[in-house]
């Protein structure tokens, strides 16, 4: 009798766990299918493509080769990679330097005000990037708003060459990525216990020492996250370089774009994409090794 009960309980449990298994499979199916179809498969295709041979007239010959990767090491392309890193570096640096005080300010005002400020900060994201970049063209070109203004004031005699320079590219990039950089920094500054700053002051440190010894180290995860969120998309983002850089500067993103459109060299474009993805993965890996939290990146 006892055994019977135990058996029936066991059976019941098995039945239930089988049910749970089925339902969890059913629930996971859509996201699994989605991931395979739209993430795994395209990446696999990209990887496959990157080892193919370029045929005449933009066709793809299905012959295995390493040539596309070897091609990247040519000086002409390495210049592009170097240029990308330089622009991404300056963009990131400026974004952090501008974004940190802004984040600190938003974190310190009253809750109500900080809500309003956050919405204002996110506002540019609701406007199409094209519109924003065209506005920059209007502002920066030689007969544009900024130059006319400075000329009228007599500060300059000749219009400044602003558009189609690295300056314009970096300006546009900073504008695009500032909101993304401010948010993680804001969240880490806001989490900081103000008592810690008071404790530091109490123990004899002035505001500057307190900042470098307490505030900065404790908010560094937010800064790391901001660096990742700026640097990575910056390397691949081709719209800003295209519109504000003219032909003068090219980044990896532009190069890939051109392989798929103008040059019609899909295998090379695929190889470039794979390399770019590897660089990004490496950076995220370094970020997590330094104690970064993937959640802060919006993963």
């Amino acid at each position: 009798m006892k055994n019977n009960t135990a058996d029936s309980v066991k059976k019941h449990k098995e039945k239930r766990s089988a049910k749970a298994k089925i339902s969890s499979v059913v629930m996971c199916a859509p996201i699994t299918i989605w991931s395979v179809l739209f993430i795994l498969l395209p990446v696999a295709m990209l990887l496959f493509m990157s080892f193919m041979t370029k045929g005449p007239l933009g066709r793809v010959l299905y012959q295995f080769t390493f040539d596309n990767y070897a091609e990247i090491l040519k000086p002409v392309y390495l210049v592009v990679v170097k240029q990308s890193f330089i622009i991404a570096f300056w963009t990131t640096l400026l974004t952090i330097l501008l974004g940190y005080p802004l984040a600190a300010f938003i974190a310190r005002v009253k809750k109500k005000t900080s809500g309003v400020l956050t919405v204002l900060l996110m506002l540019p994201l609701w406007v199409s990037g094209l519109v924003i970049l065209y506005s920059f063209v209007v502002i920066l070109n030689s007969s544009g708003t900024l130059n006319s203004f400075l000329l009228a004031l007599g500060i300059i005699k000749e219009p400044l060459e602003l558009l189609y320079t690295n300056f314009a590219v970096i300006l546009g990039m900073v504008y695009m990525f500032l909101p993304f950089a401010v948010l993680p920094m804001y969240s880490s500054i806001e989490k900081l216990d103000p008592g810690l700053m008071e404790a530091s002051k109490d123990l004899g440190a002035g505001p500057v020492k307190t900042f470098f010894k307490v505030t900065l180290p404790l908010t560094s995860p937010g800064i790391f996250a901001a660096v990742i969120l700026t640097f990575i998309p910056c390397i691949g983002y081709y719209m800003v370089t295209d519109m504000l850089g003219g032909g003068t500067s090219m980044m990896v993103g532009n190069l890939i774009y051109r392989q798929y459109t103008i040059a019609r060299n899909w295998p090379f474009g695929a190889a470039l994409s794979i390399i770019l993805a590897m660089i990004i993965l490496l950076m995220v890996f370094i970020y997590t090794r330094f104690g970064g939290d993937l959640d802060d990146l919006g993963a």
């Binding site: 008592g195 810690l196 008071e198 404790a199 002051k201 109490d202 004899g204 002035g206 020492k209 010894k213």
Partner: protein, 376 residues
């Protein structure tokens, strides 16, 4: 009192229209353990923060060692604070936390090491130097916080409810340890708490603060035995308080009439005119009872219930106007039975005449919420 190490002279603090600290005058003697005691939001933390320099008084002067500290930033004052939530630096280990103040002041490395290790030994944290803060228990964190402040050899140590986050047993243990530490070092402690038992256990003197006003400042004994106001009598320990009118003040004994009958108490230095409104306060442990009337007293009631709280038994007596009075006894042997009619009385010297309800002017005090939010 010898020359005070800290003195507050006519200190006032307003937050906008909130009058948080009112005309505060306190002299703190060197080596003293002074506790600022009061309910949440009474302004005690604000008072402490004005001494540490995190708040400035709206008017009035604060002196440390006879020198006004008005223009001194917190890091320039010879005082250190132990914060409510410890405020230890999570990015540093125990040693670096404690060494922080010395490093900032550029004390030579060898001396830092020596002083930090010595102070860690004093707070019984030897061998914990390399520990990270998040690996420490609440009690250990508290010790680190105390060590971090003490290592700077402040003239005055300010403690803002430092034991508030600890459990009861640990808190009691830390109370005694802190008191010993203070005696040993001879440093002046100014201690903020809302826990009256904590205040009684540790303090040389207690300052009772109510709605921004200093109600009474005295030794624990005097505060308990001779409260000046109804507020103090009610806040420190338990009291049975009767509103009364003076009938007669003769030969050191005041006879009063209350809503529930006549009673007696010991008169103060000042003779009270018949008709004066006062309050009579009696500690529940001093409340006596009898089955018959006792001379000079005419307060009777019915025993409602006994409440057993471990070390004592509280007996609730309902008087004929419906108010409840407590009697505390340490043994079950001498208790009246539930439902019995008893006459209450006390030794005349155990009845305290209180001339004031509180020093707070009730009209202007009504809208004061006081204090900082985190005092809640």
């Amino acid at each position: 009192m010898s020359k005070p190490i800290v003195s507050l002279v006519n200190v006032e603090k307003w937050y906008g229209t909130n009058h948080v600290v009112k005309n505060m005058n306190i002299n703190i003697a060197e080596g003293e353990f002074l506790t600022l005691l009061g309910p949440s939001g009474c302004g005690k933390t604000t008072t402490l923060r004005m001494i540490s320099g995190f708040e400035l008084p709206t008017t009035g002067v604060i002196r440390v060692q006879g020198e006004s500290v008005e223009k001194k930033e917190p890091y320039q004052r010879d005082v250190n604070t132990v914060f409510q939530n410890y405020a230890l630096f999570p990015n540093m280990n125990v040693f670096d936390n404690v060494a922080y103040g010395l490093k900032v002041k550029k004390v030579p490395k060898e001396e830092i090491k020596e002083r930090v290790l010595k102070i860690l030994k004093l707070v019984q944290l030897e061998g914990f130097e390399k520990r990270r803060i998040n690996q420490m228990s609440g009690g250990q964190k508290q010790r680190v916080a105390i060590a971090r402040a003490l290592v700077n050899r402040p003239k005055v140590l300010l403690l803002d409810e430092p034991l508030g986050a600890l459990d009861l047993k640990l808190r009691k243990q830390m109370q005694i340890e802190l008191k010993r530490l203070q005696r040993k070092l001879g440093i002046t402690f100014v201690y903020v708490t809302h826990d009256q038992e904590e205040a009684l256990t540790m303090s040389d003197r207690i300052a009772i603060i109510n709605q921004g006003i200093l109600e009474q400042i005295d030794t624990a004994y005097n505060i308990y035995e001779h409260p000046k106001t109804t507020f103090v009598a009610g806040f420190i320990g338990e009291s049975d308080i009767f509103d009364a009118v003076v009938l007669e003040d003769k030969d050191g004994v005041v006879t009063v009439g209350t809503e529930v009958g006549k009673a007696r108490a010991v008169s103060g230095e000042e003779k009270l005119a018949p008709g004066t409104a006062v309050s009579i306060s009696v500690r529940p442990e001093n409340m006596l009872f009898s089955s018959e009337r006792v001379e000079g007293f005419h307060i009777k009631g019915v025993v409602k219930e006994h409440i057993y709280v471990g070390n004592l038994i509280k007996t609730i007596v309902v008087l004929n106007d419906g108010t409840e009075v407590k009697i505390n006894r340490f043994s079950v042997d001498d208790l009246p039975k539930e439902g019995d009619l008893i006459y209450l009385y006390w030794k005349v010297e155990k009845g305290i005449v209180l001339k004031e309800k509180s020093l707070v002017d009730t009209d202007s005090a009504r809208d004061i919420k006081g204090g900082r939010e985190d005092e809640e």
